[in-house]
Structures are given as C-alpha cells and as structure tokens.
C-alpha cells in the first residue's frame, strides 16, 4: 500500500492548492457536461414527449430505436461526427474539427439517447388515468406536454443526471473529435487517459482521478436523493 499512499501524497496538494491545469480540466468538463446536456434537452425533450404521449403509428418502433441508441458505442458516434466536421465533410466549412465546439456536438449527440429514451419511460410510468383525464378535460397538445413533464419531472431529472454522468465519464468520442489538446478541449476523463501515454508516476494522474471521482460522486448523491423521494427509478451512466 506504500505505493498508493505515495501517489495520494503527491496528488492531494495539487488539488488543495488549486493547480491551474487541474482546475482548467474541471472547468472544461463542467462546461462540456452542462452545454451538451442542455443542447440534448432542447432537442430531445420534444422528441421524448412525442414518443411518450403520441398515439401515432410506428411509435413503438421509434421507441425501440430510441432505446437501442442508448447502446451506441461512443467511438462510433465520435467517428461519425468527426467525418462530418472534417474540411472535406458536410459541415467542414464551419472549421470546428478538433475544437471544444466539436466536443460539445459529439457529447450532445451522446447525451441525446438518455433524454429521448428515458423521458417516454418516465411518462409511461405515470398513473394510467392521469393523462386521459387531462385529455378528456380538453387539454391541448402543449398543455398536455407541460402537464406530463410536470408530473414526470423526477424521471426526467434522473434522465438529465444520467446524461450529465455519461458526458463526464466519456472518453472515446472526446478524444476522436477533439484531438485531446492540452488546456484546450481536454476533459478530466480524456486527460486522465492521456496521462498514461507518458508516465505512470505522475501525481497529476492521481489528482485528476480524484477530482473526477468527486464529480461522479456528487452526481450519484444527487440521483440518490431524487430517487429516495420517489422510490425506485433505476439508472446507469455508462453508455452501453
């Protein structure tokens, strides 16, 4: 255990004294998590509502697809986004390949399945009569959507936290679309992976790991608090 202890002794001062590199990583990670989850919410919530409330044909198939998209490997998403953003690609004129914006986009795409798949699940878990009653009382489509969101807010919040957790833990897509440029578009997780390319005995690796662990634990604690208010909503962060 002496070895682990030595690693920790080197790492803790870095965190306590607010090492600029690590604080920069934390800042980028939080920005990426919040921006991409917010973008996923803006795009995904209407789709999720349509899947959860709609009574159109093919709804079950679409829902199956939404669930399947949760299993999409992140490296595949990374490759697709990168090829679209490269200069020869469809959105190449934006010139945002290997930048933080590219990371936002890839992470938003990865966060989307959580919102799109888990929102309908939350809505369908509502008491069966509730929405019918609102319909019978003459609620319009917008009113119905707002009402359903309000009633299913805990499930939707859990979906948001799952999306945040996935974006914080994500490595593959971040490295592929961002190129992992130090101090620019590295997140905690992707920087941690990079540490092992050079040297294993860097106190930075341990310090980054500790900060990442802290972020994840805060998310888990929030999720647990939300769940305890409601009972059993079960979630995982990992995409797979």
């Amino acid at each position: 255990m002496g070895y682990v202890w030595d690693q920790l002794r080197g790492a803790i001062p870095l965190i306590v004294h607010g090492d600029p590199y690590i604080m920069g990583l934390l800042w980028v990670t939080l920005k990426v998590a919040v921006v991409s989850t917010a973008a996923a919410l803006v795009v995904g919530l209407p789709i999720g509502l349509a899947l959860g409330l709609g009574r159109f044909r093919g709804r079950r198939t679409l829902q199956l697809l939404a669930n399947a998209s949760l299993a999409l490997p992140s490296v595949v998403v990374g490759i697709a986004v990168l090829l679209l953003l490269l200069p020869q690609g469809a959105f190449g004129s934006l010139r945002i390949e290997f930048t933080l914006q590219a990371v936002y986009i890839a992470q938003a795409v990865l966060a989307l399945p959580f919102v799109v798949a888990l929102t309908p699940a939350a809505i369908q878990g509502l008491p069966p009569g509730l929405l019918d009653q609102a319909r019978a009382l003459g609620a319009g489509r917008v009113q119905l959507g707002v009402f359903a969101l309000h009633e299913a807010k805990i499930g939707v919040m859990a979906a948001v936290i799952a999306a945040l957790g996935a974006t914080v833990a994500e490595v593959g897509a971040v490295i592929i679309v961002g190129g992992n440029f130090q101090g620019h578009d590295e997140t905690l997780a992707s920087a941690l992976l990079e540490q092992f390319n050079y040297t294993a005995h860097d106190p930075y690796a341990t310090a980054i790991a500790l900060v990442l662990l802290a972020v994840i634990l805060v998310l888990i604690a929030t999720l647990t608090l939300i769940q305890q208010r409601t009972g059993a909503v079960q979630f995982r962060f990992r995409t797979a």
Partner: protein, 240 residues
C-alpha cells in the same frame, strides 16, 4: 456527407475481402467479450443472487453499492487497476500491464457491476409471494437460488447482454492497461482511437461498421428476449 460516403466505399471492401488486420482485431474483441462476460457471470451471478435474495444485515447497503458501481467511469476503474498492477504495487508481481491478459481482466471487472446489479434487480422484481412460498415449502438455499434464477431468467439474460455490450464498446480501461498496442491487444473500439489518430479514416469506418453490426445483433437479441419475457406467465414448478 461526401466524406462519409467516400470512406464507407473504401471501408466496405475491407470487411468483405477479409482484411487480415481487421479480422484479427475482430477475433480478439470477440474473445475478450465472450471470456470477460462469462467470467463476470460466473463471479457476479452468486453475488447478485445473494444481494437480491439474502436477508442478512447490510444487504441494502450492498444493493446501493452495486448500483453505484454501475456509474463509476471506466477510465477511473482503469486508473485504479493501473496503480494496483504497477510493478511497485500490491499486484505488480503478476506482470499484467501492457499484456493481452490484462484486457480480459479489465473487461471482466467492468462487466461485473452489470451482472451483479441487474441480476439483483431482476430477482427482486419477482412477485413477492413466490420465493416466500418456496421457503415455506422447505426449499433449501440452493433450490431457492435455482428457482429464482429460472423465474428471473429474462432479467438475468438482459444483464448478460448489457455486460457483453460494454465489453464491446469500452475503450478507456483497455487503452490505459493494455496500451492499445497495434496488432497485439487492440479491441475494435480501442483500435478506432488509433486509426483516427493516424488519420486512417477508412479503417476507422470499417471498424465502426463492424461494431455497429455487433451491437445491433445484441440489441435484437435483447428485444427478442424482452418480447418473449412479456409473454411469459409465472409458473409454479416444483423445485428440483
């Protein structure tokens, strides 16, 4: 879309003509997925059953821990194992770092939470009277476990498929512990990082296509299972 289309046109022949490098990576990935999932099932099933069925003190805490372990980012698990397996550290004498064996070890450990947490959840989801009745009729522990496994088999299979899914798409721990060495211990997912880094986009797209195909097969298996599962009615069989 031009770029993606061009790369796909280069990638498809690689798959069809059996590019030897690609196929050795596919073979290694399948080996890892099957062996790691099997090992995780052998280790995790008894733990999941004990947590799900047991009536000992502290099982609630263990259930929470099992669920939390699902949310730990693989990059953290990889870092922790790297420290543990470092030459100076506790398990350094095993000489696992940068070998093929360590990929199997890492993926087993990452698959374990899926088997444990989802098996426990599946067993707990059984109708409450069922196991109590079996206990009342004098079922021993092993008989009880067999009964619970048989009745919750759809949930357990879903757990195994989820575990297979992560082993297929996981990158972080494989890269940290194995070193992502070309032609030696790359999996499909980790090989994409290497190919993108070298701007071999056609190879990356070929790998992505294979990866998507594998995940699709798994998802179809899961969908079929769940479809069947909805039709399964509970039968009280005499315990063997």
């Amino acid at each position: 879309m031009r770029l993606i289309w061009d790369e796909i046109q280069k990638a498809v022949p690689m798959i069809l003509h059996g590019n030897p490098t690609l196929f050795s990576v596919i073979w290694f990935t399948l080996q890892v997925a099957v062996v790691a999932t099997a090992a995780a099932t052998v280790i995790g099933l008894p733990i999941g059953l004990a947590i799900g069925l047991g009536r000992f003190r502290g099982r609630q805490v263990l259930r929470v821990l099992a669920n939390v372990s699902l949310a730990i980012p693989p990059v953290l698990v990889g870092t922790f194992l790297f420290v543990l397996f470092s030459p100076q550290a506790l398990l350094g004498s095993l000489h696992l770092i940068y070998t093929r064996r360590v990929v199997f070890v890492a993926q087993t450990i990452l698959a374990l939470p899926f088997v444990v947490a989802l098996t426990a959840a599946a067993v707990q989801g059984l109708p409450p009277g069922l196991l109590a009745q079996a206990r009342l009729l004098g079922a021993r522990r092993r008989q009880l476990w067999t009964l619970a496994l048989r009745e919750a088999r759809v949930g357990v299979m879903a757990a195994v498929i989820a575990a297979l899914g992560t082993t297929l798409s996981e990158v972080a721990a494989v890269v940290i512990l194995g070193g992502n060495i070309y032609g030696y211990n790359q999996t499909l997912a980790s090989a994409t990082l290497y190919e993108i880094n070298g701007a071999y986009y056609a190879d990356a797209v070929a790998i992505a296509i294979v990866l998507i195909a594998m995940i699709l097969i798994l998802m179809c298996g899961l969908a079929l299972l769940q479809h069947q599962g909805n039709g399964i009615r509970l039968r009280f069989r005499s315990a063997p």
